[in-house]
């Protein structure tokens, strides 16, 4: 220390720079930063460049301007079909999953001896739910001679429906799979619920509010920041869904379960149209970005932050 103060010129030695507080912070997040720029930002920028090329994966790319985007919007019916299927999936699976997560979170919020155990059990599907093994299990469960039909039959409903083979039911098997994986939203809801001051409930009780009133007037408003966070997270997750569609249905029947990501994958790697795939990826980035932007804008209308009162 003494040496440094004696010679002001050498004040900016490496030791000095390293000692500054911000630098320590950056060093600590360095592994993340390297990964983020090297494996996310850089490939994204590269893919943006590729989206203006005809790029058969085995050949060198050639520049074709906006052709990929024009083809996509004007003459690719499957593009719109996959877009529609994905939107349908998100519109139904996200709210259902959040409702499910909230219900279970409310049941588990009371601390009992077993609550830790239950939390773990209900969280489990989130960990294993997007795995290939579960996807294959799902395929078997919803087969025409699978468990679901057997259960329906045992309750007296003579069902031989090929759930995966009908355009109206196939996507719902995927939605149910998504709803089943409510665990991570549930945990976030749980912590949100615990932060609601008990005093609010107590005074409401004194005023004679019943359970439903307390839920609508206290729990929901106080929980809106958590709901908002979960909503954005899950919507982004929903648009990125891949495994379910790819493993369970491969888009069948009639492209009714062909997720956007799967079609993008097919174009890029099966048909060798990587440039087109990159363009599709960027359209999705823009679209999800737009939705997120709208949600953030809508925050003012429905999200309640206690601190802003």
């Amino acid at each position: 220390m003494k040496k440094n103060s004696m010679s002001p010129k050498r004040k900016r030695t490496i030791g000095q720079i390293m000692n500054r507080k911000e630098v320590a912070g950056y060093v600590f997040i360095l592994p993340f930063l390297i990964g983020f720029f090297g494996f996310i930002i850089l490939p994204m920028l590269v893919s943006f460049g590729f989206s203006f090329t005809r790029f058969n994966i085995l050949k060198t790319p050639s520049f074709i301007g906006l052709q990929n985007y024009i083809t996509m919007f004007t003459s690719d019916a499957t593009f719109w079909k996959s877009f529609g299927a994905t939107l349908y999936y998100v519109v139904f699976s996200v709210p259902l999953r959040l409702i499910m997560a909230l219900i279970v979170a409310m049941l588990l919020v009371k601390s009992t001896k077993l609550s830790g155990f239950y939390r773990a059990v209900y969280y489990l599907p989130s960990i294993i739910g997007s795995s290939v093994a579960v996807a294959i299990l799902w395929k078997r469960m919803f087969a025409s001679n699978g468990v679901i039909n057997a259960m329906l039959q045992s309750t007296g409903i003579p069902s031989t429906i090929a759930w995966l083979g009908r355009t109206d039911t196939a996507i719902w098997t995927l939605i149910i799979l998504a709803v089943w994986q409510f665990g991570s939203s549930m945990l976030i809801f749980l912590s949100g619920l615990k932060q609601i001051p008990v005093s609010l409930y107590e005074s409401a009780k004194v005023d004679g509010a019943n359970g439903i009133h307390r839920f609508i007037k206290i729990t929901l408003p106080m929980l809106t920041p958590t709901i908002f966070f979960n909503l954005i997270n899950q919507i982004i997750n929903g648009f990125m869904a891949f495994t379910q569609s790819y493993i369970i249905t491969q888009g069948a029947p009639r492209d009714s379960t062909l997720f956007y990501t799967v079609y993008m994958y097919q174009n890029s790697f099966a048909y060798g149209k990587l440039g087109y795939g990159c363009a599709m990826a960027w359209v999705m980035v823009m679209f999800v970005g737009l939705i997120t932007f709208i949600l953030f804008k809508s925050q003012k209308r429905w999200v309640y932050y206690e601190a802003e009162r």
Binding site: M1, G15, M18, N19, A24, V27, F28, L30, P31, I34, R54, N56, I57, L58, K59, S62, K139, F142, A143, S144, A162, L164, G165, R166, T167, A170, T249, Q250, A252, P253, R254, D255, Y265, Q266, F269, A270, Y271, G272, K273, L274
Partner: protein, 444 residues
């Protein structure tokens, strides 16, 4: 302060160590094998003493995966300096996987190759020329017929070595067929198959499967001596219309397995084929699959050729190299890879394990050797191939770029047709116009 610097330095060292982790990992297996080599030095060292690690990928099913793995282990035991890393997937994911590898410049040393894709990979310079290895005897071709070597040739150079011969075949459930009291001809016509299917459904309630995908459209084109991709390039409707009409003829009946069941009983994967659980009595694929279908089904199956048309002017049945091995241009161990391929093709010990699962061995002596050893099921395939050899016409040229998208378009239209949302004529029209566009785009 000094403590802080120290801790930061340690942190940085850890981070760097972490980043370097990938490369250390790569080096370690080589080091491991080096030590094992020291222990078992005296064995056959035909490949020299140099440490070699080869990677090998194939598509397949459980039967093939088990057999190939066993053969690879034997090779590593005999050649202790060689380590072979294997990877396998089913057919549908395979080409996505390898084309991604190719784009990344890390195609495995040895890849299983298909007749439909060999052109695309060769065109883009991914495949090593095997001709030098054949000339210097690394790959021994003395007992391999010229015509089979030719099937892997492009512009006069060999880029892939066939692993066996097969032919389009229809498998059928013997028990069900007997129960229904019908006989299956060696090569039924579509009309005959239609009647047989009807009878079987009436007698036993078991349904019929009818489709062979793009291979079957090509097959139907061959009945008139035409080549499908010529037709598609010109926009000619003939064979496509014949195909979609035939599909429609079957899908309109109740003895044909409905489309909604085919989603879960995917005929493209051996393990889920509808013949396996007797949802159907028949299945259309290629003869080398007969072995794995039989073993998965666990029943006695019969074998015949694909249905042809009643007014066929030429024989559509052909012999096909079931699959190839090719070596990546980027491979650093081409010679070691060639040695493995030679062993895989020409050695009795390898083929005693493989037992013709990839098709009848191309080395005629090995084929005879294997034939003397095989079980009933494989013998059926040998006999079938012998029969086909007598009548087969030469195979179509390898498929052009854009093949996989054309194939997918056909599948989608068949599905639409089966769901009753399009008629055969429109489907054929859409198929031809769509394919023409795809092929033109892919050729650019």
């Amino acid at each position: 302060m000094k403590k802080k610097i120290l801790s930061l330095l340690i942190m940085t060292a850890m981070v760097i160590g972490l980043l370097a982790g990938c490369s250390t990992k790569k080096a370690s297996p080589a080091a491991n094998t080096q030590t094992t080599e020291g222990n078992s030095s005296g064995e056959k060292e035909a490949a020299g003493d140099e440490e070699v690690t080869l990677s090998l990928v194939w598509w397949g099913n459980q039967t093939r995966n088990d057999l190939t793995q066993k053969a690879v282990e034997l090779y590593m035991k005999n050649n202790s300096n060689v380590t072979i890393k294997t990877e396998f997937t089913d057919w549908s994911g395979y080409w996505d996987k390898v084309s991604t590898m190719a784009a990344g410049g890390n195609l495995p040393d040895i890849m299983q190759q298909d007749y439909a894709y060999i052109n695309q990979f060769q065109e883009s310079g991914q495949l090593a020329d095997l001709t030098p290895f054949i000339k210097d005897g690394t790959i021994d071709t003395t007992n391999i017929p010229e015509s089979i070597l030719d099937s892997g040739k492009i512009d006069g150079s060999v880029y892939a070595l066939s692993l066996g011969s097969n032919a389009p075949m229809m498998a059928y459930d013997k028990e069900i067929v007997e129960k229904a009291g019908v006989t299956i001809p060696e090569q039924p016509t579509i009309d005959e198959l239609y009647e047989i299917g009807q009878t079987i459904y009436e007698k036993t309630g078991v349904q019929t499967y009818f489709d062979g995908g793009i291979n079957y459209i090509q097959y139907l084109a061959r009945t008139t001596g035409s080549y499908l991709f010529d037709e598609l390039a010109k926009g000619t409707l003939d064979s496509s219309l014949l195909y979609f009409n035939s599909i429609a003829k079957f899908s309109d009946t109740d003895f044909c397995i409905p489309a909604n069941l085919l989603v879960e009983k995917d005929p493209e994967i051996v393990e889920t084929k509808p013949i396996i659980d007797q949802s159907t009595w028949n299945d259309l694929s290629f003869s080398n699959q007969f072995i794995s279908v039989s073993s998965t089904a666990g029943r006695d199956l019969g074998i015949c050729m694909w249905p042809t048309t009643a007014d066929a002017t030429t024989q559509p049945e052909y012999l096909k190299p079931s699959m190839f091995f090719s070596i990546a241009e980027t491979s650093e161990n081409k010679e070691a890879a060639a040695k493995f391929i030679d062993w895989f093709t020409n050695s009795e010990e390898a083929n005693e394990i493989l037992m013709g699962e990839r098709g009848i061995p191309i080395n005629t002596e090995i084929a005879d050797f294997v034939k003397s050893k095989v079980d009933n099921v494989t013998a059926q395939v040998f006999d079938f191939i012998a029969k086909v050899t007598e009548i087969a016409e030469p195979i179509d040229p390898p498929s052009p770029s854009g093949f996989s998208e054309v194939e997918e378009l056909g599948k989608k239209l068949v599905e639409t047709l089966r769901y009753g949302e399009i008629n055969a004529e429109d489907a054929a029209n859409q198929y031809v116009t769509g394919s023409k566009e795809i092929l033109e785009e892919a050729a650019k």
